[in-house]
């Protein structure tokens, strides 16, 4: 086992107060059964899950509530047994503050499991594991909520996966859910790493962890003492070392170019919580129904909770003793990349790794925004080596094409630029605005293209129909002029001839 090896340092980044010890003094608390469960159907990146239950149904713990719609989607399971109360739009933890489709379940208190069975993962191939994972509802639990089954593949055939990286950096201030998981579920994590290691068939597994998590580092070092292919690499505490491409560079010295994936370079990365979720699913058959959430900041007893998905956040905040200074402002995610929750009346979702009750200085100290002085400190801090001041200028003046030219979409929205800005300009907000504006424009263009195609096809179809009708008419006319008409004329002639004969005959009689 090697512990210390060369670490490659990335450009920029910031060293902020980590404030992690607020929530690491008490162990993870099992929250237990809430009074109600609200399960949003949108908890992951991709398509909304397809509903499989109706109002009034009785569901068991772990039962499928909604299945993945297509490949880029994730299933949703009942976190406890109970009755489906309603399926309607409710407030979800989303920066928009808009309601979305949710399934509300009233727990019956029995917490009775549906029949679950472990997978004999050693015997089946990756494709089958992938299919199973599609039904597990597991998504990246680091906060991005990207469906996990999409990441479990061999990569391109010519350069198959060689390295599994376990992201244990947890670089944002305040968040400690991964740290606490590593401390309390060390064994499960190691078993999980071995499992994923074997499934992917990689040569080595590297755990990347920031040097401020000393307890977890000690525990993990002990746990992997006898492991030949699992390594622990300690990286300095510089935000954003937990960003996938930054961590890959820190650990392996490989820079993944724009629009390429780490799997193209034989590397795949999972968050520690995701690894444990995969382990619990394949080893015991447990789908994704709970997660660890850091509840921290301005609270009486901040700590980490293991909660069922769909638990109302309000009940957890109450359990944590409520706010010390009441300001009713809560941030989901970290202070750098998180967003203000529209209300506390939202459920816990798969993406909810941390809730920060705003500390007074975070709310009150709204520093006035000053004009940009072109000091370029943002450029020094940018870990992606972009030109934030230029991007700001283009986004502000809505020169979206220009912004894209300056690699706007490489921005990881880490917030380092906003953090160091002496003029307090909310730079990331401008980038987010510009990005969603460009994305919408692209979607509109795509829709317009489809409409054009459909219109052109319709014109073609009408033309074809017209031609076909003309042909049919012509044919009918042609046929009637040849056969029918001659027949008709012959019949008439015959009739006349008959009549003449009758007259002749009659004349003789007379």
């Amino acid at each position: 086992m090697k512990v210390f090896e060369k670490i490659f340092k990335f450009n920029g980044g910031i060293q902020a107060k980590t404030k992690k010890n607020i929530s690491t003094t008490s162990p993870i608390k099992q929250f237990g059964l809430p009074s109600k469960i609200i399960l949003p159907l949108r908890q992951h990146i991709g398509k909304l899950a397809k509903l499989k239950v109706s109002v009034g149904d009785h569901v068991l713990k772990g039962q499928l509530i909604a299945e993945a719609d297509g490949n880029v989607s994730a299933a949703i399971h009942a976190p406890t047994s109970g009755k489906v109360l309603s399926i309607e739009k409710q407030l979800i933890p989303h920066p928009s503050g808009l309601p979305d489709f949710c399934v509300e379940i009233e727990p019956d208190g029995k917490d009775k499991w549906v029949q679950i069975k472990p997978t004999n993962w050693k015997k089946i191939d990756l494709e089958k594991v992938n299919k199973l994972l599609l039904s597990s509802g597991i998504v990246g639990l680091g906060g991005a909520a990207f469906p996990t089954h999409l990441k479990l593949n061999h990569g391109k055939a010519e350069n198959s996966l060689k390295t599994l990286i376990i992201n244990a950096a947890e670089c944002e201030p305040y968040i400690t859910c991964d740290d606490m998981l590593m401390r309390e579920k060390t064994n499960e994590l190691i078993l999980g790493i071995k499992l994923v290691h074997e499934i992917l068939g990689v040569e080595e597994s590297v755990i990347g962890i920031e040097d401020n998590k000393t307890v977890a580092i000690n525990l993990l070092t002990k746990a992997i003492e006898n492991e030949k292919n699992i390594f622990l690499k300690i990286v300095p505490t510089i935000y954003p070392s937990g960003d996938a491409k930054r961590l890959i560079y820190l650990l392996k010295g490989i820079k993944i170019p724009k629009s390429q994936r780490s799997s193209d370079y034989g590397i795949q990365m999972f968050n520690v919580a995701t690894i444990v979720a995969i382990y619990r699913f394949l080893e015991f058959g447990e789908p994704s129904i709970s997660r660890i959430v850091t509840i921290t900041g301005n609270l009486r007893s901040p700590r980490n909770y293991e909660v069922l998905l769909g638990t109302p956040l309000e009940e957890i905040i109450d359990d944590a003793g409520g706010q010390v200074v009441k300001n009713n402002t809560f941030i989901m995610g970290g202070p750098m990349m998180g967003f203000k929750l529209p209300s506390i009346n939202v459920p816990v979702t798969k993406a909810m790794n941390c809730i920060i009750s705003s500390e007074p200085d975070m709310v009150e100290e709204k520093k006035p925004v000053l004009p940009c002085i072109r000091c370029a400190r943002c450029a020094e801090a940018c870990p992606v080596q972009l030109q934030p001041q230029e991007l700001f200028w283009f986004s502000k003046s809505k020169q979206l094409e220009k912004a894209e030219e300056y690699n706007l979409f490489d921005c990881i929205e880490c917030g380092c630029c906003s953090y160091v800005c002496p003029s307090n300009i909310p730079l990331v907000q401008y980038y987010r605005f510009a990005k969603s504006e460009i994305i919408e424009e692209r979607q509109e263009q795509e829709q317009a293209n489809i409409a054009r195609e459909r219109n052109e096809f319709r014109i073609l179809r009408l033309e074809r129909e017209k031609q076909e009708r003309a042909e049919r008419n012509a044919l009918r006319r042609a046929q009637s002029s040849n056969e029918d008409k001659t027949k008709l004329i012959e019949e008439k002639r015959k009739a006349i001839a008959d009549a003449l004969k009758r007259i002749e005959a009659g004349g003789e009689e007379q």
Binding site: R42, L370, F433, E444, Q447, R452
Partner: protein, 188 residues
Amino acid sequence: MFTSILIVIFLAALIGIILGISSIKFKVEGDPIIDKIDSILPQTQCGQCGFPGCKPYATAIANGAADINQCPPGGDEGIHKLADLLGVEYKPLNAEHGEPKPKSVAVIDEKTCIGCTLCIQACPVDAILGSAKHMHTIIEKECTGCELCLPPCPVDCIDMAPIEENAENWKWKYPVYKIDKSPERRVS
């Protein structure tokens, strides 16, 4: 004198041949400017511009038969883009052709629908599904919101529903904040 004339004639012939061959070899099908204009137009196929669709309008613009400010769904932004492309002055939208409206989709009240197929015949993008004496419905995803199905409906069972903001189509807003004047920092 004679040689120089010969050289010029030779050169002219050579260049003529090259141009002739390349005009056959690199022949551009259709009029590229029409396609460029057409790609800017929103493809609602609504006919508010006075032409039976976006392509005919694009053709009319290219031929100078129509102005660039006749497309309400394209809005101000579309006019700016057309002006940029064609190198002409920007003009505000001609109100004769209608006002820009929020993006909508048609919705058929399926209880009232009598199944007359008139709307199906009117839809420029085949976004209505149904057959004679059977209920019709709109394929929401394909509807461009052109409103062409409204007038032919004999029972007035089609409504335009504006597309509301939801968690899926929501986008980040332009940051709004006050710039601090900082009077104490101003040099007097």
